[in-house]
């Protein structure tokens, strides 16, 4: 596990050929009132910056993502995605096996849980605290404001 600066983590994800961004329930719940943004907005930004790479919209996030203009997305289940990683990749949304799973919208505890289940694949945890079980994760913060700043830097580097 390594904790990377947001900019470095952004560069790392950008360097990957086939990343799969996974959006979880907190994308619809966490907002940043001082910036008038939702966590989901960062998923939209990531989709744009990653040149319309697919977003696996878990929980209910597919509704918001589509409303915000993301087209390369569909409703998926996070438990199913981690299950797919232990078999030859068959999920048709993304043709080849992803080289990294990028989790956004999960508690650090849930991300730890999910990252430890995923097999033979890199994982990135975009949480408000570092996740030991992830291959790489954002650093610890003490406030949502810091977390937002981290995400902004991360997206900028994509």
């Amino acid at each position: 596990m390594s904790v990377l600066k947001p900019r470095d983590l952004g560069k790392y994800v950008k360097s990957k050929k086939n990343p799969l961004v996974i959006t979880g329930a907190l994308c619809d719940e966490v907002d940043f009132p001082e910036a008038k943004r939702k966590l989901l907005d960062f998923a939209v930004d990531m989709s744009k910056k990653l040149k319309d790479r697919p977003i696996a919209a878990c929980a209910n996030t597919v509704v918001g993502l589509k409303q915000k203009g993301v087209t390369n997305t569909k409703k998926m289940w996070v438990g199913e995605i981690v299950e797919y990683t232990r078999d030859p990749w068959m999920e048709p949304m993304i043709k080849d096996r992803p080289d990294v799973l990028v989790f956004l919208g999960y508690t650090p505890r849930s991300m730890g849980w999910l990252c430890s289940m995923a097999r033979d694949i890199d994982t990135v945890a975009l949480g408000y605290q570092a996740v030991e079980q992830a291959t790489h994760s954002l650093p610890d913060t003490v406030s949502f404001t810091d977390y937002r700043k981290n995400l902004e830097e991360f997206v900028k580097a994509l």
Binding site: G24, A25, L26, E29, V30, C58, A59, N60, V62, V63, K66, K74, K75, M76, W77, V78, G79, E80, V82, E83, Y84, R86, D87, M90, E91, P92, M93, Y106, T107, P108, R109, S110, G112, W113, L114, S116, M117, Y128, Q129, V142, S143, F144, T145, D146
Partner: protein
């Protein structure tokens, strides 16, 4: 042991007119079961035609886990292999957790049974009610091989469960066991828990007058038992209050009996938390449901209870400490020591009461009679406590004023991801306790926020204050548990629900630590979709808080308790979870003539692919629920657990819907393997939101061998479209012909199958459909090759139909 040694060789079983066999030919090892008892059960229950139809009839009385491996390992774990969070030890950890989850319930069953034996003696008859017969003792029958007619036979059943739990613990320590072996043991331990719950429920209804629908005709079940107001708001101020917490209902029952005998029920408030809260309304309609076990600490800290009576259960905190905090007196009645309290069952009541009044915070009384006597005496003599246990608004605001703007560590620490810090800051900024309402509603007072706060703000005290403030409004209609279903209900359900009017059976259970809005929404959503909703455990009280503003009815006034479409039935407390798989266990007997005595595999395998039955388990869960889920999935009830945030669910049993080779059945006539739709898609999968949970539950209920698939598929597709704005990506895999498609929108579905999924048609005739293996075939061939195709199916080879030439032999 040879058959001569165990006596089976001498026992001939005669079923029907022409079938006779030696018991030893179907029972490899009796394991101490009485062969004559098993013979009698079989001769009464088995169906000749069924026996002569299947390839091999095999029974396993007092089954060990390996006896059922043809189901556990060859079917369940083969198709849905476990996926663990964590390292290589996880299968063993999973088993240890299951064992831990079984322990308190099995221990309570022993406590209650021992009490019943001491009062009534082993010969005391037990039954399930007027409209149930011996064959309705599901778990005892299926695992032990006999219908328990008295307390002695319940004792035998429970002893078996205890010994099996010991073996499971032993297995958890084996260094070289495989995951499959360990998971088999976990399934088995879960089954033992359900068996112990049957023992408990039987004693409750048979000997202690708990409400049960088993004595009623079908039409009378709907609105039974009658409703009553309960909740913290129903408590009358000025009355002394005692609260019972935990699984052992005996001290509570004895106290209520004493109050009734002395006509004092109006003078005192008797309340319950956890299993006690669910049991209380089943024999005392003045009892108050005040909280789920997982919220016990929050309820206790409101300080309204003079006496706390605790017993074994899912307690995760120090009751002695909590009693001290509110000057309450604690009487611990559990089976093992707690908090350093001295066991004083042999002391005189006066001496115990005197000590408690003079400041001793609590005592341990294993004897339930003595516990009830002391509780009663304390209620009469205890003086009013000083009070002031909850912060007022000004003090709360002063406490919150220490919160700084640039810190959210309490939100980060919250296992349920509640935005605690925002609530605290809003309180600080003068928005009153309503600022904490959203977080408080879901808060279980785990105290992680307190621990994380660098300013040492007592956030939990703020939560308790906000919670206490809502007390007077916390009043709702509850109807006590109705117990399990009658076979007549199942048969009636077969006529109604299976003919296409219901998306199936849905268990909704939990430990009361979820967002109450979520469990209420789930139960109401499923029932309003014509589902048959069965609720049990601590979440029932949360669900009962739902008030429909349109109909101006509480949910327990809105939906009947019969197990028919559009119902939401309270089965009872945690021990009523054992009723949830009844559709899979009872219908094998009712519809296919499968005797259930010592016949677990045939029983569940017969209904697994046919009956629409699943369970949603909602909320961060104690170990007991982990064990219950193991027992449920083994009995053919796939489970959705959630929400993911806050959940500590470290083992899934997922399928892979794109791996079509994983999902198969045997055509029973030919023993040919047939590939079928991914059903059930998973055995255990987490959901993140309530919408995901309901949608996955509806998906689970589309089964390969069911008729009238349109209704079930409609449930899956409609919920997906409604909640997520699109069709599920795998929906074509569940369609075998246009007849499966919901009538509303059928043309649209067909058009989409043509446009996106390779179907081709000419007019109304389907000409080409792609099979999962890539070939394209016509409609006739498609049905012949894919799905159960209306033929009898099974997943266990020996349950296939015997070839004709063998029949003649």
């Amino acid at each position: 042991m040879s058959s001569e040694q165990d006596g089976t060789a001498r026992v001939m079983v005669r079923v029907g007119n022409r079938t006779e066999f030696e018991l030893s030919s179907v029972v490899r090892d009796l394991k101490g079961a009485d062969p004559h008892e098993l013979k009698a059960a079989l001769e009464h229950d088995a169906v000749e035609m069924r026996l002569n139809t299947i390839r091999e009839f095999r029974l396993a009385p007092y089954a060990d886990a390996p006896d059922l491996s043809e189901w556990d390992q060859d079917v369940l774990l083969e198709t849905w292999p476990p996926l663990y969070a964590g390292g290589g030890e996880s299968a063993a950890e999973s088993l240890r957790r299951t064992c831990l989850g079984c322990t308190s319930q099995i221990s309570t069953a022993r406590q209650v049974l021992d009490y019943a034996l001491s009062v009534y003696g082993p010969g005391k008859a037990v039954d399930l009610g007027k409209n149930m017969d011996a064959g309705d003792f599901t778990w005892t029958g299926v695992m032990c091989g006999f219908p328990p007619g008295d307390l002695h036979s319940l004792d035998r059943a429970l002893s078996y469960a205890e010994s099996q739990l010991n073996r499971a613990r032993l297995a958890a320590g084996q260094a070289h066991a495989t995951n499959a072996d360990l998971e088999g043991q976990a399934f088995h331990a879960g089954t033992m828990l359900l068996l112990a719950q049957e023992v408990l429920e039987t004693i409750k209804t048979s000997l202690f007058g708990f409400t049960t629908a088993a004595n009623l005709g079908l039409s009378d079940i709907a609105w039974y038992p009658p409703p009553h107001f309960t909740g913290r708001g129903a408590m009358e101020s000025g009355k002394k209050a005692v609260v019972f917490i935990g699984d052992n209902f005996i001290p509570m029952w004895l106290l209520v009996e004493a109050l009734r005998a002395k006509v004092l029920t109006e003078r005192f408030e008797v309340c319950g938390i956890g299993q006690a809260a669910d049991d209380l309304p089943r024999f005392y309609d003045r009892g108050r449901w005040v909280g789920a076990m997982t919220r016990a600490r929050k309820v206790l800290r409101t300080g309204v209870f003079d006496i706390i009576v605790g017993s074994d259960g899912c307690l995760g905190f120090d009751l002695v400490d909590e009693a001290r905090r509110t000057d309450s007196r604690l009487i611990w009645t559990g089976s093992v020591a707690f908090g350093g309290l001295k066991e004083r069952s042999s002391d005189p009541v006066d001496a115990i009461v005197s000590d408690l009044l003079s400041g001793v915070p609590g005592v341990w009384l294993r004897d339930p009679r003595r516990a009830a006597e002391v509780t009663f005496a304390l209620m009469e003599t205890m003086k009013q406590r000083p009070g002031g246990y909850v912060l007022g608004e000004e003090k709360a605001r002063a406490e919150a004023s220490k919160c700084s703007d640039d810190c959210d560590l309490c939100s980060y620490a919250c296992p349920s991801a509640l935005l605690v810090s925002r609530g605290v800051r809003a309180l600080r900024d003068g928005n009153g306790f309503k600022a904490l309402a959203e977080a408080e509603k879901r808060c279980c007072l785990c105290l992680e926020c307190d621990r994380s706060c660098p300013e040492k703000i007592g956030i939990s005290d703020l939560m308790v204050a906000a919670f206490a403030r809502k007390g007077p409004e916390d009043k709702f209609i509850l109807r006590g548990g109705r117990g399990g279903g009658q076979r007549a209900e199942m048969a009636s359900n077969d006529l109604v629900a299976r003919s296409g009017s219901s998306p199936g059976w849905f268990g909704v259970i939990g430990c009361g630590d979820a967002n109450p809005d979520d469990v209420q929404w789930i139960a109401n959503e499923l029932a309003s979709r014509n589902g048959i909703v069965a609720m049990a455990g601590c979440s029932v009280g949360d669900i009962a808080h739902f008030h429909d503003p349109d109909e101006q009815k509480w949910i327990m006034q809105k939906y009947p308790f019969w197990l028919q479409p559009r119902s939401a039935a309270n089965l009872g407390g945690c021990s009523a979870c054992q009723f949830l798989p009844l559709i899979t266990l009872k219908n094998a007997r009712s519809t296919a003539g499968v005797t259930h005595y010592s016949n677990y595999v045939e029983t569940v395998a017969t209904t697994f692919d046919r009956y629409a039955c699943c369970t949603i388990v909602w909320g961060p869960l104690p170990d007991r629920m982990y064990a219950i889920v193991a027992g449920l999935v083994r009995s053919g009830v796939p489970v959705v657990v959630g929400p993911l945030a806050g959940n500590d669910w470290k083992r899934m049993l997922p399928g892979n819907k794109w791996d079509w080779r994983r999902y198969w059945v045997y055509e029973a006539l030919s023993q040919r393997k047939r590939f079928v739709e991914p059903s059930p898609k998973h055995l255990i999968i987490p959901a993140e939101t309530r919408e995901e949970a309901v949608n996955m539950a509806c998906c689970y209920n589309v089964k390969p061998a069911q008729g009238f698939r349109m209704t079930f598929l409609d449930g899956y597709l409609d919920t997906h479209q409604q909640y997520f704005g699109e069709l599920p990506d795998d929906w074509p895999r569940y369609v075998r012909s246009p007849g499966d498609l919901p009538i509303a929108g059928r043309a649209r579905f067909l058009a989409e199958l043509e446009a996106k999924h390779g179907w081709k048609r000419e007019g109304p005739v389907i000409k080409e459909i792609p099979l999962p293996d890539g070939r394209t075939v016509d409609q006739k061939q498609y049905v012949r090759e894919y799905g159960a195709g209306g033929a009898p199916v099974t997943r266990v080879p020996r349950l296939c139909v015997k070839p004709l030439h063998q029949k003649k032999e």
